[in-house]
């Protein structure tokens, strides 16, 4: 094991290379660029021995990953914001084709106007593509989640693509110390990918041709079942990782100081990391408040949230908005409780466009809720 002090993106590149993908296809976009540059440097040094396709668009990046994955090899790509949106069609394609592609998405604002800072609307708007979605809160978690994601994606009971999300600049360009296991240990944890099915000249199959309603609905059901299986496997893989490497970032969500809490804050990504500081601060001042950091948005940790609501009211912070509705996490948390819990749920929309959200901001949102002064869903920091 070594300690590497580097930015989220270079850590992601390191993790990707240590997972030994056979094919990487990627296209640069701010703030993801240093991921693809990092991999290019590993290629130049001979530390990455896979094929690296510098495609001409994100749509082609995902298409090339689909082609390679269908051949039965391990693939990786990374993107952000508009790049992710350009991939949209192929995100659906990859998930419906049940290809275990692993991708990092650096959460960035969608234009116009052009803005490269943190905002989660890019990946949130890919919610229904069928991808598993992780949201990371530290560079260590980025590294660990990338390796764990391959194990999850390639499991026969899952066979779904995985998107690892982390906030632009706050993580992508911020250096932190990260424990890097030895390659041998990674290889032990993550054996070579053995595909259940692939394009094979000795077993000529036509994949993805016209499919009638009688079969198509079964394809969708199978995807949903795979997400259910992922719900079981994500904690198992996280615990196997803990046993081997001593680190644990939570199951589908990470509970932080939730014992005896009267309020539980729910957040994702960088805001969730900042929320830990806010919770410490508020508990020091005697407020009974804990944090549930959403680690996987898909599959959605509905059962865990319901359980948390048994003894606490919930405060949800969204760095995204479904315009015309509400914050998306807020919306889904309420749906999880419907008819099953009497807990109050308050939602805040904040941090859009990369607006900084400090622990003081989080504390004031919580205080407003606790004091009964907050509307059901409101904006903070306008």
């Amino acid at each position: 094991m070594t300690i590497m002090i580097d930015t989220g993106n270079y850590i992601a590149a390191k993790a990707a290379v240590m997972a030994k993908p056979d094919v990487v296809a990627a296209y640069p976009i701010t703030p993801q660029t240093t991921v693809v540059e990092g991999i290019a440097n590993y290629l130049e040094k001979g530390e990455f021995t896979g094929e690296y396709i510098c495609v001409e668009s994100e749509h082609s990046a995902m298409s090339a990953c689909i082609g390679a994955s269908a051949m039965g090899v391990r693939t990786f790509t990374a993107t952000s914001s508009h790049g992710l949106l350009l991939m949209h069609e192929m995100l659906h394609w990859a998930a419906l084709a049940r290809l275990p592609i692993v991708m990092c998405n650096i959460n960035r604002v969608i234009g116009p106007g052009w803005n490269i800072w943190a905002d989660e609307n890019d990946s949130i708007s890919q919610r229904d593509t069928g991808w598993i979605q992780f949201y990371c809160s530290s560079n260590q978690e980025i590294f660990d989640t990338i390796i764990q994601s391959y194990k999850l994606a390639e499991n026969e009971k899952v066979l779904l693509p995985v998107m690892i999300n982390y906030n632009a600049f706050i993580l992508s360009h911020t250096s932190m110390p990260v424990d890097i296991p030895d390659q041998r240990e990674i290889d032990e944890f993550l054996p070579k990918f053995k595909p259940k099915w692939n394009l094979d000249i000795n077993n000529p199959v036509t994949f993805g041709n016209i499919i009638g309603p009688e079969y198509y609905i079964k394809v969708r059901k199978a995807m949903q079942d795979a997400h259910k299986n992922a719900k079981k496997l994500i904690p198992e893989i996280a615990r196997e990782w803990k046993k081997k490497f001593g680190r644990f970032h939570g199951d589908l969500l990470e509970k932080y100081r939730c014992d005896d809490a009267e309020y539980i804050l729910l957040a994702m990504g960088a805001i969730a990391a900042e929320s830990k500081v806010a919770v410490d601060e508020m508990q020091r001042k005697g407020l009974k408040i804990g944090l549930a950091r959403i680690r996987t948005f898909r599959p959605f940790p509905k059962e865990s949230i319901l359980q948390l609501s048994e003894n606490a009211d919930l405060i949800v912070i969204d760095r995204n908005i479904s315009v015309g509705s509400e914050g998306v996490l807020f919306n889904e948390v309420k749906a999880a409780l419907y008819h099953k819990s009497d807990a109050r749920v308050n939602g805040f929309i904040t941090g859009l466009g990369g607006r900084d959200v400090t622990y003081k901001d989080i504390e004031s949102m919580c205080r407003k809720t606790v004091e009964g002064k907050a509307n059901e869903c409101e904006w903070y920091g306008i």
Binding site: D22, V23, A25, G50, E51, I53, C54, V55, E56, S57, H59, S60, A61, S63, A64, C65, I66, G67, A68, S69, A70, M71, G72, V73, T75, E89, M90, W93, L199, D200, I201, N203, P204, V205, T206, F207, G208, N209, I210, I211, G212, Y215
Partner: protein, 305 residues
């Protein structure tokens, strides 16, 4: 190796199986049958949205005896690039990667991915079967649709001339590109066979006259292809390492050894040009297309003789 092969010598193996969902008289199926005979068993085919996505028939059946991956409309070349990279990594150097797309997926929506794959020197064969329309969606104009032709989106006849895909491809200076037509199976077979033996990106375009799309009767598919070549609407040529060679009748036309058949001969049997002949002859538009074709040949003669 004998590169020139006559029809009677084509391999007996069939990779397009009986029972496809193609229309009667479908030229794409004729083309594919010959192409796959030339490429053989060790071929992986990538098919974007196009007629072949229907021809291959409904899940759980297939009409192809090689592995096939369907992919989105604009993604054939990029998907093929991924397959090719995986094969390289796996050390499977004897497998041919074939991207098989229509003119919509090539001239229009798939052009960017194709250009990218050619520029990156992807080791694959990209074949465009060109029926000059979006036929799978029910006959809409494409960048390959000729001037004055009726489609469901050019109801009074297309106002623009088709683009010169061959020129765009040659601007990439790939090792091999060619134009051929289903009406000349030996020309088609031998070009595909030649492409198979060359390392790097290869592009072949096959003119595939479409009975329902062009509005002619289904037994005339081969005849319509021949007329396209004889009138000079379509040219048979190949370009190896930037050297262009015209083939068959196109060579004779190029060298002025035979005269092009008047374009009306090709247009008249096609219902999509009916409005140029009935109720009265539209001399102006027929002439405009004839002059456009002549200009193309003047260019060919300037550069390729």
């Amino acid at each position: 190796m004998n590169l020139k092969m006559a029809i009677k010598d084509f391999p007996i193996e069939e990779y397009v199986l009986p029972g496809s969902a193609a229309c009667p008289g479908c030229p794409a199926t004729i083309a594919l049958r010959i192409v796959l005979k030339a490429l053989g068993k060790k071929t992986v085919m990538i098919v974007p949205a196009c007629c072949t996505a229907v021809i291959e028939s409904l899940y759980p059946h297939t009409s192809f005896n090689i592995p096939v991956m369907n992919i989105a409309f604009e993604a054939a070349a990029a998907g093929a690039a991924g397959v090719e990279a995986a094969l390289r990594k796996l050390g499977k150097n004897d497998v041919t990667v074939l991207a098989w797309a229509g003119d919509g997926g090539t001239y229009d929506i798939g052009l960017q991915a194709l250009s990218g794959a050619l520029e990156r020197e992807t080791n694959f064969i990209y074949i465009c079967y060109n029926n000059q329309i979006y036929s799978n969606t029910g006959i809409q104009r494409s960048g390959a649709t000729p001037y004055a032709a009726w489609t469901t989106t050019t109801v009074g006849g297309k106002k623009e001339f088709r683009k010169e895909m061959g020129d765009i491809i040659r601007a990439h200076h790939i090792p091999y590109s060619a134009q051929t037509c289903i009406s000349y199976p030996d020309d088609l077979y031998n070009k595909v066979k030649k492409a198979k033996e060359i390392e790097g990106p290869k592009y072949i375009e096959i003119l595939t006259p479409c009975p329902p799309g062009w509005r002619f009767s289904m037994e005339k598919t081969v005849e319509m292809g021949r007329l396209a070549v004889e009138t000079g609407v379509w040219a048979l040529y190949e370009c190896k390492n930037d050297v262009v060679t015209f083939n068959g009748k196109s060579r004779l036309i190029l060298e002025n050894k035979i005269k092009r058949v008047p374009i009306e001969e090709w247009m008249r049997p096609q219902g999509r040009f009916k409005h140029l002949f009935v109720p009265k002859k539209d001399v102006k538009r027929i002439k405009a297309l004839e002059e456009h074709i002549e200009k193309i040949w003047e260019r060919y003669r300037k550069y390729y003789i």
